[in-house]
Symmetry: C2
Amino acid sequence: MAHRIAVIAGDGIGTEVMPEGIRALEATAKRFNIDLEFTTFEFGSCDYYLEHGKMLPDNWFEQLKGFDALFYGAVGWPDKVPDHISLWGSLLQFRRQFDQYINLRPCRLMPGIKSPLAGRKPGDIDFYVVRENTEGEYSSVGGKMYEGTEREIVIQETVMSRIGVDRVLKYAFDLAQTRPRKKLTSATKSNGISITMPYWDERVAEMAKQYPEIAVDKFHIDILTANFVLHPDWFDVVVGSNLFGDILSDLGPACTGTIGIAPSANINPEGKFPSLFEPVHGSAPDIAGKGIANPIGQIWSGAMMLEHLGYKEAGDAMVDAIEAVLSEGDSQVLTRDVGGQGTTVSLGKAIAERI
Amino acid sequence: MAHRIAVIAGDGIGTEVMPEGIRALEATAKRFNIDLEFTTFEFGSCDYYLEHGKMLPDNWFEQLKGFDALFYGAVGWPDKVPDHISLWGSLLQFRRQFDQYINLRPCRLMPGIKSPLAGRKPGDIDFYVVRENTEGEYSSVGGKMYEGTEREIVIQETVMSRIGVDRVLKYAFDLAQTRPRKKLTSATKSNGISITMPYWDERVAEMAKQYPEIAVDKFHIDILTANFVLHPDWFDVVVGSNLFGDILSDLGPACTGTIGIAPSANINPEGKFPSLFEPVHGSAPDIAGKGIANPIGQIWSGAMMLEHLGYKEAGDAMVDAIEAVLSEGDSQVLTRDVGGQGTTVSLGKAIAERI
Ligand SMILES: CC(C)[C@H](C(=O)O)[C@@H](O)C(=O)O
Ligand SMILES: CC(C)[C@H](C(=O)O)[C@@H](O)C(=O)O
């Protein structure tokens, strides 16, 4: 039976790296005898917005809900549409309406990739950030008062629910359970943010009781970001609220030098709705149209998608191919950001061939 | 006329580094003929809390408001008092009640200090983080509902006022004005946090009109933390909300390897109330009582205090003395964290003598 994949390339370099993501997936599907069926959608991009006055058609939920997964490029083009409109109108809708309450991002030193940190080698850094993906600081509740006057105030509410917090914690503890080090770090700020964050800590302590074999620690977000730089080897599974997870899952790949190539998965663990797989990088208007974007983030996201669909071996083969091509370091193949003079297509093809 | 300084050592290593801060200040006062008068207070510590059931006496405001500055060590000892109680009961009260709406922290590569970043030398990194220090995400508005049930939710409001945002922006733009590069970077997250952060952006754009000679850019906080690691040389003055500023002003010093020695100033620019000067590091229960804490953060905070009181030359002399002692690298003098076998006192004395 075919796995039906909805493809939304989005904006900017999203449209350039997506074909390479698909190329790699098709090569993998062939090798492992997996039946993938891709359906492309034009919506979820700023150009669509300019034409239709909205990021998505009214019936997007109906159109997409039957798919087995969504494969997304990148969205956003601030000169065309303000970010908070393009993002809330697309990506953040998918995350919420499809209840993709887990955002999962690996932070790993890869061969051939230079880490900005001094003296770290592949193997030294290898952890996951698990981010709550549907509530918390990303709320739509709040507003403005005394508008346009000196006394103007704006208010936005952070909302955390026990259901929302517990389910992301459970996922993170379960993930830690599968890892050799069995360690979980919680990101908090309960010394400053005095209502939601102590609650987060409480729920972590409660959940920890059910996982006696997991070593649990916590750091306030300020010193935690410092420790990502100073002691990235301390971490195994790091769990955080929507905002803290967002920060840590950019900072983590930055520390491993992989911010331009890191993948991410937006997961609905129950499989009630499709999960969404996308590179961490954005649409990068500054290099869009030049054909030089690195497609590894898109390809690696494809690997996470296959793993999610039950093909762990196939996903691993994709990551192995990425690592192999990076290790070879052929400058005709690699894109500029990783020290070569190649193109999106040359790097994408090399990985697909390797698979 | 004497400058009256209120001294609050607080908890843990706060009580160990404070005497060295005072030693250095007294040496400087002697050399530059400045009249400093120190008055020590026991409150503002967890031990005070254990005895009195509160962090501060009821009349703390009256007791302190006439001082020219507050010189603070570090507060917090989670095993005695939960952090959100000890912090909200002391430090955060001072910041609010004394309207210290600016939190200023230098991020600078110092000689003799190893940066965790590859290939960076003193001079490569030198910027300030200006943090809003009285409102924003650190609010006390919110609460819990359906408590103790599956449906439990907690809500905390981020509150930004035009007055609050504009005044910190003005301070940051004014600071950028005094710097050779005249560059200001704003920390935002308007693509995800859809009410307060677009408002922050709006106010930055508005303020920028009054400073045509300042080059302004902005980054979302996630990629901004990444850029602190990847491109710390990009930054000159970075301004952020209370939470974002908090994160960046730990991450910045972490990138320069100075997290254990960085100073901070909590400033009421109008001088209506005393400003407060404290090291960035906390009370560090794990190394408290051993006499090995590095006193440079406390001493450097003293330098910022002198500068604030109008003695820029004297403040610079203190920083020069710190740099000189670090450059010499005498391992009998330096504390462990900077590669020596010395003590809090040996390092403090060496700096005071140098002054
Ligand atoms: C201790 C804590 C409440 C405080 C803060 O978050 O403001 C600290 O991290 C700081 O930066 O001074
Ligand atoms: C684009 C933005 C809204 C988004 C987020 O903050 O969630 C992005 O940074 C991410 O991490 O996927």
